[in-house]
């Protein structure tokens, strides 16, 4: 049997694609290193072991869910609630995967599985800007993903080291990293009136539920109601 991987790596066209993919990942890297750093510091301060904090960046690789989990662990929330919250928060990747997959008909299952593992809001945003080349440029797409996760893990490690040096995260505003990241992601998502209306509904309903005492399930309930109402309005306008 020939080692096809070794042949792949030696092919100059493939090397070129990998270089292009890593170059395209640069804006993500610039964002992930500081946010990963903030996560590392908060995790280091929260009582989670460094190994567990790093493991999360390696096998969960979902920024917002990781921040939320650190907060929940710190407040003593049980495993079931943490896992359900993670599921809800990351369910949005379902849509992203569903929108990219139709353009990946030439990919083998093992590459699709690896690609899906590193699908985040940011890698999705970059892939969706050049969706037409996704089928031919598999090494480029995978290199982009790997570079993104590498920067997230590097940021986490730096943060874990810095956690010991930083007395309190508050004077640095690190406890605002998650909210600021959501603001950036939300603004990036709101490219139509119907999405803005849905976002306002989702936030409003979540706030009302939160104030009413539904502090575990306010996110999923508000998300489902807002998206369904938004869909209703959209279909009604079309008619």
């Amino acid at each position: 049997m020939r080692r096809t991987n070794a042949v792949d790596a030696a092919d100059p066209a493939i090397c070129q694609q990998i270089a292009t993919g890593m170059k395209r990942a640069l804006p993500i890297v610039l964002g992930y290193v500081p946010i990963g750093f903030a996560y590392g510091v908060l995790a280091g301060k929260s009582g989670i072991s460094e190994a567990n904090a790093l493991l999360m960046s390696l096998i969960v690789f979902a920024g917002s869910a990781q921040f939320i989990a650190v907060g929940l662990f710190a407040s003593g929330t049980g495993p079931a609630a943490v896992i359900v919250t993670t599921f809800v928060v990351n369910l949005r990747h379902l849509l992203m995967a569903a929108s990219l997959a139709p353009h990946m008909s030439a990919w083998k299952k093992k590459y699709l599985s690896f690609f899906a593992f590193e699908l985040t809001d940011e890698t999705f945003a970059l892939h969706s800007t050049r969706v037409s080349i996704l089928n031919q440029c598999r090494p480029e797409a995978l290199a982009l993903n790997v570079a993104a996760q590498a920067s997230w893990v590097a940021g986490t490690i730096l943060g874990l080291f810095a956690a010991e040096l930083i007395g309190d995260v508050k004077p640095l505003g690190l406890d605002y990293a998650l909210a600021a990241m959501f603001i950036g992601l939300l603004v990036g998502q709101c490219d139509s009136i119907i999405k803005i209306v849905t976002a306002i509904l989702g936030g409003g309903i979540a706030t009302v539920l939160f104030l009413a005492g539904f502090q575990q399930f306010h996110i999923i309930i508000a998300t489902v109601i807002a998206a369904t109402a938004g869909l209703g309005v959209e279909q009604w306008i079309k008619k």
């Binding site: 804006p27 929108s99 139709p102 999405k195 989702g202 979540a206 706030t207 998300t223």
Partner: protein, 110 residues
């Protein structure tokens, strides 16, 4: 909290994160999505992001707080236009954290 419990919880988190990323990638590769399902799914990201964000900005100590005493709310009023103008996640994060850090330096209580 027990690190072993956290370890197993993280494995669970990894699983419930990977499944929604994996299944559509595998099963919709080269196919088309039902248009109504697609339209609904397209509205999930703004809905869930806003649902996670807004309570953390405007609820303080179990009460609605839309005053300028609320530093997280004030920082959001600055971070939103930055996000809109520069379309940059890192710029938004740096400015948001910067405003909160500066606010605390200047004596905001939160």
């Amino acid at each position: 909290m027990d690190q072993e419990v956290i370890f197993w919880t993280i494995l669970g988190m990894a699983l419930v994160t990977y499944i929604p990323r994996l299944l559509p990638t595998l099963f919709l590769s080269g196919r088309k999505l039902n248009p109504i399902a697609g339209a609904w799914l397209r509205l999930i990201p703004p809905a869930v992001l806003s649902a996670m964000l807004l309570p953390s900005l405007i609820v303080r100590e179990q009460r609605l707080d839309l005053s300028f005493d609320n530093l997280f709310f004030v920082a959001a009023l600055i971070a939103f236009p930055v996000a809109y103008r520069f379309k940059s996640l890192s710029a938004t994060v740096v400015v948001g954290m910067g405003v909160v850090a500066l606010g605390r330096y200047l004596g905001w209580s939160t």
